[in-house]
């Protein structure tokens, strides 16, 4: 028959044992039992009597909570994400949340432009969507971080970084946005020693930083393209109190596989940038090819014209890229478009047509700039 004190000790040891691997369980609990008994004997000698149940509890409390005691014996990392990985995890979370925020904000703007019956509900849905996807992102990054911590995985881009690739990491701090190096490059002289103020450079060329953002954004796009995540407000919204369904035009079915392949190739190029930060010419060549492929893809989409069909209360309107919208008059008339289905469709068509032009110019510039980088002489 066990005494109350033995019973308390057994319960504490059982709780510790349950957290330990089976192969070391008995050995560790035997040693802990011996420790507890030694401490109790010392206390009993001091008091000149047996310990009460409360005093035994006190001894166990001094040794520690079973979870904390067992955790000290665990092999492997002490934390889910250790101090070395934590800054990367934090940056990934911040950057990912910013991308998600941009996507949900865009979705909300589209919804609000269409004049929903209940704007409050649209805003609430956008918040709900942002928090839901944000929590999923944090969970996924935590899981990835925990796996890297457990198996001591440290990719090359974490260890072989270069100072010139770091500028975009400043984007995690919104208070530094827009601060340019040149604005901060004033020098001052004190006691004959030139002191150059700390220069914050954000928004300049940063291959690694751009690649991290690009991978996050493209990763989200691929998940959405495959139908694994959804963004409320992109597929349905309201116009004049009527629900509007958005259906993709046939061009998206035709280009489904090429667009998916293109996104995956672009992610591979970004990954290459992270893994081989010094292979500048090869990276530039890949980027030029990606920009050219993107231009071809844009050309096919523009040639198809029709992008989406909006359906509401039996009425249909098409959102299309149309060369006819490329006059300043259409831009000026943008805010005069009606709030009915044809009006919303033509507003979206104008915006998308002009966006396509801006994108085409930017892609052309990117292709040419990267081609130049492949052939320009190296700076000594």
């Amino acid at each position: 028959m066990t005494t109350p004190s033995e019973d308390i000790i057994d319960r504490w040891l059982e709780a510790v044992a349950a957290q330990l691997p089976p192969e070391t369980r008995a050995d560790i609990t035997d040693e802990l039992r011996e420790l507890i008994v030694s401490r109790m004997e010392a206390k009993e000698a001091e008091l000149g009597r047996d310990l009460t149940a409360d005093e035994v509890e006190g001894v166990l409390r001094e040794i520690g909570h079973p979870l904390a005691v067992a955790a000290r014996y665990r092999a492997g990392p002490d934390s889910l994400i250790g101090p070395e990985l934590l800054p990367w995890w934090l940056y990934g979370v911040k950057a990912g949340l910013l991308v998600l925020l941009a996507i949900h904000a865009l979705s909300l703007v589209v919804t609000l432009i269409s004049g929903p019956r209940d704007p409050g509900q649209a805003i609430s849905q956008a918040f709900h969507g942002f928090f839901g996807s944000g929590l999923t992102l944090i969970g996924a990054l935590t899981l990835a971080g925990a796996i890297m911590e457990h198996y001591r995985i440290r990719p090359k881009w974490m260890t072989e970084w270069r100072a010139k690739d770091l500028s975009l990491f400043g984007l995690s701090d919104p208070t530094t946005w827009g601060v340019k190096a040149r604005e901060a490059s004033k020098t001052s002289t004190a006691g004959g020693v030139n002191i150059r103020p700390v220069q914050v450079r954000v928004g300049g060329s940063s291959p690694a930083g751009e690649a991290v953002f690009s991978i996050l954004a493209l990763g989200l796009f691929v998940l959405w393209w495959l139908g694994l995540v959804s963004f409320p407000g992109l597929a349905t919204f309201e116009v004049a109190d009527q629900p509007v369904t958005v259906a993709g035009a046939p061009v998206w079915t035709t280009l489904y596989a090429p667009i998916l392949a293109f996104a995956l190739v672009q992610m591979a190029v970004d990954l290459f940038t992270l893994i081989n930060p010094t292979a500048e010419r090869l990276r530039a060549l890949f980027r030029a090819a990606v920009a050219a492929a993107n231009l071809v893809l844009l050309w096919f989409i523009a040639q198809a014209g029709d992008l989406f069909v909006l359906t509401s209360a039996g009425q249909k309107a098409t959102v299309a890229i149309d060369q006819a919208y490329l006059t300043l008059d259409w831009l000026r008339m943008l805010d005069e478009r009606g709030r009915d289905l044809p009006g919303v469709a033509s507003t979206l068509s104008i915006v998308l047509t002009w966006s396509a032009v801006v994108m085409a110019i930017s892609l052309l510039g990117s292709a040419m700039l990267n081609l130049w980088r492949t052939v320009r002489p190296k700076v000594a």
Binding site: I28, D30, E31, L32, E34, L35, V37, S38, R39, I63, G64, A68, V69, R72, Y73
Partner: protein, 109 residues
């Protein structure tokens, strides 16, 4: 406890943390079991919680620096630890390092 005291305590613990392994290795030149080892450390002014000491003993043993043996003493089975040959050689090198650091700090302080 004031903020200053808390800061001091946190820095004091940080300062001690690195020296505990050396103290444990030094104390185990003589064979001891966990409870008496803790008492010996405390007697020399190095209080150490059991939840830190016992897992540390296992880690040092798994690194080959300690040898251990279950033995009966005063009608109870106890696990005795003692420095291994590898532990003794490492202790010698760590002691030299510790004295060098101490010398440098003495000059700085």
């Amino acid at each position: 406890m004031s903020a200053d005291d808390e800061l001091f305590e946190s820095m004091r613990l940080e300062l001690r943390r690195g020296s505990l392994v050396l103290a444990v290795l030094a104390c185990l030149r003589t064979e001891r079991y966990g409870y008496t080892l803790r008492q010996a450390l405390a007697a020399d002014g190095l209080e150490m919680e059991e939840s830190t000491l016992y897992p540390l003993l296992r880690r040092l043993e798994s690194q080959g620096l300690l040898l251990s043996e279950w033995r009966e003493e005063e009608k109870r089975r106890k696990r005795f630890y003692v420095l291994s040959p590898l532990g003794a050689s490492l202790l010698e090198r760590l002691t030299a390092e510790w004295r060098a650091i101490g010398g440098s700090l003495d000059r700085l302080l």
